[in-house]
Structure formats: structure tokens, C-alpha cells
Symmetry: C2
């Protein structure tokens, strides 16, 4: 009943690692959040600037940014009444380049 075994060595990765990867990809998998990543890879921006660029209300942008801060993608500093966000996760650059190569070019 069994067939010939697949002789190719199976790639690695614990179930927990796949779960974490899926979690983070799910956070990345939103058009507004993708746009935020792309912008923040090119500089610092405030909540209001990001919101206006993406065409969403400020509080919506704020919630997206909070999400991405919680999983380590972004960090923020308050300067006066504004809050500037920037990229904190170095792998985001290469990951975004892959996404741009496939979908945005």
C-alpha cells in the first residue's frame, strides 16, 4: 500500500515557529498596513501623515500602527503632540522587497 518514500530531506521548522511566522504575516497582510511598511521603510512619519496617505481616519491608522508595534515591526516616539513611527524589524526591508517584486512592480 505504501509508495516509494520521498527521498528529499524535509525542511526544518517547529510548529511553534510556523505559528509565529503565520501570526506576523497575518499582520502584514493588510493593504493599509503594507502601505505603512513601505512608507516607513523610506523615512519617519506621523500617524496623521500615514493616515492621510492611506486614506483612512486617524484612529484607524493609530490602531493599525499599534498592532504593528506590538509585534515588533515598528517603534514610536512622541514629539510634541505628534507621534513618529519608524521601522524596528530589520527583516521587514527584505520581506517588503519580495512583496514589491511580485505585486507592486
Amino acid at each position: 500500500m505504501n509508495m516509494k518514500p520521498n527521498l528529499v530531506p524535509k525542511p526544518t521548522g517547529s510548529p511553534a515557529a510556523f505559528a509565529e511566522a503565520a501570526e506576523c504575516l497575518k499582520i502584514l497582510a493588510h493593504p493599509v498596513r503594507l502601505r505603512f511598511v513601505q512608507l516607513l521603510l523610506h523615512g519617519r512619519f506621523t500617524v496623521g501623515e500615514l493616515a492621510e496617505d492611506a486614506g483612512v481616519p486617524d484612529n484607524v491608522a493609530s490602531e493599525h500602527l499599534r498592532l504593528m508595534q506590538r509585534c515588533g515591526f515598528f517603534t514610536s516616539q512622541r514629539e510634541g503632540r505628534r507621534v513618529y513611527y519608524q521601522v524596528a524589524e530589520p527583516h521587514l526591508k527584505q520581506l517588503m522587497e519580495c512583496v514589491e517584486a511580485r505585486f507592486l512592480h
Copy 2:
């Protein structure tokens, strides 16, 4: 009230392109489906083989595979009673390498 404009040229990408990218990333963002991508980047496998490796019932695996076939990630060929799946989207390789570099190594 206005601050100095951000002189950095803004990166490209239509809203529709971001929406499509987010759609595909969302499909990728599942631990079982990530594992399927990883395995299929190393060879051809049947539904049953993939299901057993991932520890999910066959029908669940079948639904995941159908999803990834619909968005162009995989293709399938029937051989007897078995159905073999393989990678169809060339960018998946580089994308998975990014994910592995960040989460699986």
C-alpha cells in the same frame, strides 16, 4: 500649523496592487499553508502526504491546497487516485526564504 513637507520621494503602488498583495499574503499567513509551501518548494507531494506531515485531516489539507491553487501559488495533477501538488508561483521561493530567515532559523 503645517510642518515641513517630507522631501523623500514616496514609493509607488496603486491601492489595487496593495489589496492584491494583502490578499495573497493573507493566504500565506497560516501555519499549515506555510508548511505546505516549504515542503512543495522541495518536491512534489500528494494531499495525503502533506496532510500527514502537517498533522491535519485530509479534507482540511485539501481545502488549504484548493485556496492556494486559486490564487496561483500551486498547481495539481491527478495520477490515479492521488493528486500531486507543486509550486507554480516562482516568487514563492524568495518569499519563503525571507520568512525562513526571520522566523524559522
